[in-house]
Symmetry: C2
């Protein structure tokens, strides 16, 4: 047989420029509000315009990029917070056929330099407060042809940077006329490196198609449920997997976008939530803890706010309960990976769950979420055999879909197994598509041949009133191979003892799961994005000796 | 420059089988409820199962199709109402690489036969009550190899059909094991003919990609806003542009699907709305009029019902107001075409409209709708120049997008102009993407949501010996929205009566196409160049009252 018969449908590629054109045509007067990075006071602290103005400036920017010699496929790096110029870069760079490479400015200097050189960034745009970082990067990144300060001609950075270009100066010289090219939808659009795994950071290179498809999925009622009536504030940084795709979904849906700039503390966020009547937000648990603390101290409520998406780490039950009870806001767990662009699963209950007894319903509400159409998930055993989707059996979680990478940027080997990406998570799946992450494959504690979930032990510890933050890691045990050690940070002013914390587990968990010891620390090690660094913690406690245990000499 | 750099993303085609696999994996226990076409009483009038059972039977059906010799690209016809077996056919035929061709059983016999022969249908599946139609089609459609009654072995059709096959008998012989093939997403999946334009009916051949993309768009909050909490009843027939894509969107979202079988009268629909706590429905204005009448007569309310999508014809204000006031249900206008699969626009207000004075807001609420991402629209003047999107200027409406056809099935010429499809509608556009249809450029009458070709009716009238010139125009009808009025100029000396002219249509056209009335005039209005001025004629007969019809005061 020859080629199959094709549908008689227009060949219309899914492009990032199409998102922008749609926003300009149909949501032209919808606002994008940004907290400025440059010093300002009063209302001038906020920049405010609409998609029509954004689109015009974005076309000027494409002309400026061409003037800087940026060509198709060239990588253009950003060292920037969540703000309107960063959104313009998203659309201008990708829309014109180049690749926007968002860089996490909180990484170690050497990591950043390595990433810039590996990506071969030709131009780097950076926010004002990151000028000192840039001056340190200059000698390490010889391949970068232009460094562009995201500001106007008047603003002076705190350090001197030779041959510095300025964003507004570049734009002023350009016309707002530009015809977006008809690109191939599989063409590369954006690049994001993931750290935290072993070895060098690895790049995930997204395509126009993967971003547009994910934007559709993101907006759906059972996923983020975003409409033109929403006001969305992504706290998750735009350098962290495209702020979970929200700057793209905003153009598709036409919701109002509120961008917090460099200030992600509780007070600054509270101000924006109130000023802009934010209805939806997204960030890691650490951020919600800070917001809750600020709201408590100042007796604040956010009446417009309905839901906050929680990703990056598991959502502690105590935090979900506090948000619900004190702020009337649902914290909605989600799960994803840089390798998944990042949407993997979002927790939205089905009607069948409404009738469950509260405790059972809460168990569902705390799961990582369920997969939308576009993400296929399965769990497998050590032999690669698929395991039942019964909500009980745990296995290695594998994923497949049109916004999941099949290899890393410049990677020579494929990470896929039989066409599926191993996530490195251990999980259960149920018949509704809910994923329950029981542990990171490397975080599990294996005691006497049986698995113990450190996440579950951490959640119980977090429910103790004296505990601010908890981590459970495996420490060596001569008999059981590994045993759990609880490491805690106490709340300011709180007091407790080892025995009291361990007694807190009684009746909540099998006896053999109870940690063998408690270590009190002033703070736990985190990554730049707020993720707990278990590896570092395990190194720190590598020589820990459990009480009452005889160790071989 | 060589090929552009591609994103490192899995090649995962958008396939109809992926929708079904997702539904089986993540919505396996969600119900599909159908009113049976076969005679039954009590609860047995309803068939009830879930996506898991549907998927298993669909795989059996693919094996049965192979057994009937159906190969890739073959067209498989359906003459069927909205029911579970029809859904199985949607997924089995397209999922296995063939093309499901849904046929409107209400067309004129010769039209149906012409369509079947033009499509080259190899097998036709039909519902029990359509057996008499099939027995008339048999001698006209020699290319059809198998006729399959959608019923079990025991059920006897009212007429004898030689070599009749039965759906359930075919399924029983087959295994439920089947591996869905990895098709090209641009492959043809489904075929639907549109009547009403001049000449023969024309086929719109949809692809897997176009159907899946439209399913994403359909579900979004500002489009139909469908979640797993919805219970959706498509009254729009599955032979009418895939019931506006709802059987596909159901698999993607996991809402409950309620299918009304052959009974679309007010009483039958009321029963289903109540029994199944339907939250969302979709159909033409005629259906909503019938439902409203029944609800009034029996003092019914449908407390679960929130929104009903109205398509096919413009929504009369009085109907919208009555639904809102008496049933508390929002009738939501929408606009589309067979050529658009059919989603073009859905009316959902933006927050800025909330503050409008009631009369102005209502003017927006009655517009055809606004375009979702995936539909680009523009209006042009006679020279093809784009006109302003100001909500005032009218022009010829043109559309473009990844679920819009670029030619008709077996068509040799493209209907596109500069890559855009002319819709045949005259409309305004505004800055929010709202389309307001002001007139129709094409010579068509829309009766009960279906097209009637005025040209075809004129040609038949002209074939009557007494007629010198004939024009057919739409006049308003309280139930069917529009009905054809025949306006004739008699030949000098010729004599005839209304009844004789109408009798001339018998056997030449479907009964519901026959004009409702005849007006005799001395001459028809023409332009200087001799073109018939339909607009002037419509104005002339704007107040025409059809005999035997009750008009609201």
């Amino acid at each position: 047989m020859g080629d199959p018969m094709r549908g008689n449908i227009m060949q219309q590629p899914l492009l990032i420029s199409s998102l922008l054109k749609h926003a300009e045509r149909c949501h032209g007067d919808v606002a994008i509000v940004s907290r400025r990075v440059e010093p300002a006071s009063g209302d001038a602290r906020f920049h405010r315009y609409d998609w029509r103005a954004l689109a015009a400036r974005t076309r000027q920017l494409t002309n400026a990029l061409a003037g800087l010699g940026v060509q198709r496929d060239d990588r253009v790096g950003t060292l920037a917070w969540n703000g309107y110029r960063h959104v313009e870069l998203y659309y201008a760079v990708a829309g014109s056929g180049s690749i926007v490479h968002t860089i996490n400015p909180r990484l170690f200097l050497e990591h950043i330099a390595w990433i810039i050189n590996h990506a071969e960034d030709r131009v780097i745009f950076f926010d004002l407060d990151l000028a000192p970082l840039v001056s340190q990067l200059l000698p390490l990144c010889g391949g970068v042809r232009h460094w562009v300060l995201m500001s106007d001609e008047q603003t002076q950075p705190s350090v001197d940077i030779p041959h510095l270009l300025r964003y507004e100066t570049l734009l002023q010289a350009e016309r707002a006329q530009y015809d977006w090219p008809a690109l191939d939808e599989d063409q590369a659009a954006s690049l994001c490196y993931t750290s935290g795994t072993t070895g060098h950071p690895k790049g995930a290179l997204y395509s126009h198609r993967s971003i547009v498809l994910q934007s559709y999925a993101t907006a759906m009622p059972d996923v983020l449920g975003l409409s033109s009536r929403d006001v969305a504030l992504p706290i998750v940084p735009m350098f962290h997997v495209n702020a979970w795709n929200l700057p793209y979904t905003a153009a598709l849906v036409g919701f109002r976008l509120v961008l917090p700039g460099a200030q992600m503390d509780g007070a600054s966020l509270s101000e924006l939530f109130t000023r802009e009547a934010v209805t939806f937000s997204a960030g890691v648990p650490t951020v919600w803890l800070a917001l809750l603390k600020h709201a408590r101290e100042h007796a604040l409520k956010f009446p417009a706010l309905r839901r906050c998406l929680v990703g990056g780490s598991a959502l502690p039950r105590s935090l979900m309960e506090a948000f619900e009870a004190e702020l009337g806001v649902r914290l909605q767990p989600s799960w994803g990976m840089t390798e998944m662009s990042p949407l993997g699963a979002v927790n939205s209950l089905k009607p069948k769950h409404d009738a469950l007894p509260p405790a059972q319903r809460q168990r569902v509400e705390l799961k990582a979420g369920r997969t939308p159409f576009g993400v296929a998930a399965k769990i497998i055993d050590d032999d690669g055999q698929e395991l039942p989707r019964d909500g009980v059996t745990t296995g290695a979680l594998m994923v497949q879909g049109p916004w999941i990478i099949d290899r890393y940027f410049k990677g020579e080997t494929s990470p896929l197994v039989d066409g599926w990406l191993p996530t490195g998570d251990i999980a259960t799946l149920d018949e509704d598509g809910f994923i329950d992450i029981t542990d990171r494959a490397k975080d599990l504690i294996k005691s006497g041949g049986e698995w113990i979930s450190s996440i579950e032990l951490e959640n119980i510890a977090m429910s103790h009133p004296a505990v601010a933050e908890a981590a459970v890691i495996a420490v060596a045990h001569p008999k059981w191979d590994e045993r759990p050690l609880l490491v805690v940070v106490l709340r300011p002013g709180a007091q407790t003892r080892r025995e009291q914390l361990l007694a807190h587990y009684a009746g909540r968990i099998a006896k053999w799961w109870v940690p063998d010891d408690v270590a009190f620390v002033a703070e736990l090690p985190h990554t730049a994005t707020g993720k707990l660094q278990k590896l570092k913690l395990r190194e720190q406690f590598a020589a820990h000796r459990l009480p009452g245990v005889e160790y071989p000499a």
